[in-house]
Point group: C2
Chain length 458, copies 2
């Protein structure tokens, strides 16, 4: 049901004329994220600049039962911000102010539309950084909504772990500020971690106080090749158990290694699975000792090449290659689109999930690139296909289904970091069982009319 | 209103006869925790042994609107498990089984009544430990309820941060299992962190899967004396900002140092504020380098003594003294009782809160011992008084009030780790503002009849 003229008029009055649009090009730009999920046009897009504007908009939408879908940078991978029920998209990208940097408390206040890469550029001069890194140029608001994490979560935690305080606009337009600026609290119910990761279905997060980390003075990285995916992933779980605290511990499968070799000039790795490990620390001596421990573990597991002592430049290049892997995959398969896989399992089950992923794609003749934030048990595998070829695309969906179900059977989760969005709704019952009913009740409590990002999560 | 004979009969049928009591001595044992809050007798005490028994008991209580107060070890400090509305106490101490240790996943499944010290004894042979440490012999269930943390939270996180999965009996007796065994998830609403820290008002946690840490192979500790509390606490905040990752960073004020000197044979510290810092790591080299950084920082801030290279035995003795500090205080003031202070502030505000605490006690002629988990911004100050001397006890309450309000005005919290219980209810409005209404609604949603630990938190 399209919005009435009177609704549009009320909404239009809240923001400047150039921050309201029903033009088709703006609607199209807010109809789809980076996933393969079908686009859906909103009826209007609004670009609020203040919490107060968001509050006024949401209040109107609640009164008139207009769906409100918040929008960050549109980089999500499960259709999280697709306005499947129409209504308005609330594009928060103009709420992009860094409000206050309190370096002595390792904290920063930002508006939700700040891009995390811009934030980290700004924080550099203070010797601080915000560790979670989803790869894409996401906004902090989007990262909070999805509990983004990425490569460094293994040491520094996910976005959710680093939230001190939120400003949240509730479904009725009222505004709350849950959280504290103290690092520790046992005071009241933890609303910050209820809203974080809730994908905008409980409220619209407009401002965030983040906890930061000091940029470590010393880095050390190593790339280690293994004969099999199993040997590599077994090593990953042993490194974690050993008490070492790597800042990144990535697994990259053979096919992905091949693409890195092909599309970069810098690298020529053996065409076999590898792990990339990075340590952050305060002294060269400490890092060197950690590296020795890792080397022993790797050699015990039959590592075929151990390349350490990687300098700052080579390290940056390697990370660049890791980040560009997604692009390499697209370039390798022109005309095809990726279906992302994102599950996480207990670390002892890493060898199982990697072997399973490789086996089912091979058996079905499907192209899949296994890699992931292995130290957190988080495995990705973009599978390439043509969404318009219904039959072959269905095979990808079937494999996705099998993999997620297998991960859950191992005690794992349907999504390690991409969120539920549209794509993972089908697994919520299996993963959460009776807990799902409690989640639904909380949704109903906080958004009785169901206006906030409808059609997501449940 | 005492329980009716028919209610008692129904409840009695759930458990073995020796696990149900209305005897005065058992009631008295469950009428009071370790705080100064007045005792209140329950009508009956039950010792369930399984989640199913808890479920049946809670279902009956819900039907008959009988208050249910869960009980761990009774070591809390804000009256958290005092059955202020009567009804039954659910003593979970017989649910003390360690159900499964999965060392390869760094995880353990425990029943709620397991004492954390017993757990860590058992885990030692696996080279693992559960880091939070509230000092007292608390149960894991109690630690989950209060989000206990203690000295090591600065490196390893609080209890809440280390929960993978819970088994929760809801107010209607139904059972849910929120959480995942994967280290990372973006799946659904975070119910684990909603129930954790909720002090039993939303549900009864009967089983917990905890994330563990590897016992570090190397330890290193230093004790540093400073001329003033301000210099010491300033150093603490600088250490955190420097990117170092201490496993403990404790502040001990002059009066507390004096008691440690007096009641131990081992120590003879200068009678001035000190900090105690401990590092955990994988190599002696790394720790030595960290220590050098700390030494420089301390000297820059005018440290008067820097005692490092403390061996395992001296370290253990120092921790023992730190843990026994509470007892020393009681021994020093026979006949008086302590009112605990527990606030946390942003770390840059440590010097302010320490100075404020010392000033207001001095001005009012009150005995107060400032110390705390300073690296997390968490400050304690037991003040000694006679609860029966209404007038002088009121002064302590006034100081407590002023300190908590000051902490909140600095952006901090009413309770860093003791929880709200009875004592901190008065500050919830000030700290949480409009968020409190959302908390109340969630309580009402999950416990519509208000049977679960009534009279607490709100």
């Amino acid at each position: 049901m399209p919005l009435s003229e009177s609704s549009l008029k009320r909404l239009r009055e809240v923001v400047d004329p150039d921050r309201f649009s029903t033009g088709i090009s703006n609607l199209s730009l807010h109809a789809k994220d980076e996933s393969f999920h079908p686009a859906h046009l909103p009826d209007a897009v609004l670009w609020p600049r203040t919490t107060e504007e968001v509050s006024r908009i949401v209040k109107i939408c609640n009164e008139e039962e207009i769906p409100v879908t918040p929008w960050g940078a549109g980089t999500s991978l499960e259709g999280n911000p697709i306005p499947v029920k129409g209504g308005i998209v609330l594009d928060l990208q103009q709420m992009n102010k860094i409000l206050s940097i309190r370096e002595n408390d390792l904290q920063v206040d930002v508006q939700a539309g700040v891009v995390f890469k811009d934030l980290n550029k700004k924080l550099q001069r203070y010797g601080l950084f915000f560790p979670p890194d989803p790869g894409a140029s996401a906004t902090i608001g989007g990262m909070v909504a999805n509990n983004a994490s990425g490569i460094r979560a293994i040491k520094y935690g996910a976005t959710k772990d680093l939230i001190q305080r939120l400003t949240v606009v509730l479904a009725d337009g009222s505004v709350i500020h849950p959280g504290t600026l103290a690092f520790k609290t046992s005071s009241g119910l933890d609303l910050c971690r209820l809203f974080a990761g809730s994908e905008g279905i409980l409220g619209i997060v407009t401002e965030i106080t983040l906890r930061l980390a000091g940029i470590p003075p010393e880095f050390l990285a190593a790339v280690v090749s293994f004969p099999t995916g199993e040997a590599a992933s077994l090593t990953v779980s042993q490194i974690i158990r050993s008490g070492l605290s790597p800042a990144a511990l990535e697994f990259i499968g053979t096919d992905s290694v091949r693409l890195i070799n092909k599309y970069t000039e810098t690298f020529n790795f053996p065409e076999s699975p590898l792990i990339f490990i990075e340590f952050h620390g305060t002294s060269k001596e400490g890092l060197a000792a950690d590296l020795e421990l890792v080397r022993e573990l790797c050699e015990d597991n039959g590592a075929t090449r151990f390349e350490a002592g990687i300098g700052r430049q080579a390290r940056a290049k390697l990370w660049e290659a890791r980040y560009n892997l997604h692009d390499f995959i697209l370039r390798e398969h022109p005309g095809l689109e990726p279906m992302a896989i994102d599950t996480a399992v207990p670390i002892s089950k890493l060898p199982d999930i990697v072997a399973f992923a490789e086996k089912i794609t091979r058996n079905r003749g499907i192209i899949g690139y296994v890699f992931g934030h292995a130290g957190s048990g988080n495995i990705h595998m973009p599978m390439m296909g043509d969404p318009n070829d219904t039959k072959s695309w269905a095979v990808l969906e079937e494999i996705n289904h099998q993999l997620v179900e297998y991960a859950i059977s191992l005690g794992g989760t349907a999504t390690g970091e991409h969120g539920v969005g549209i794509g993972k709704i089908q697994f919520m019952e299996l993963e959460h069982g009776e807990s799902l009913e409690v989640m639904r009740k909380i949704k109903k409590l906080l958004d009785p009319k169901g206006i906030l990002n409808p059609g997501k999560m449940f």
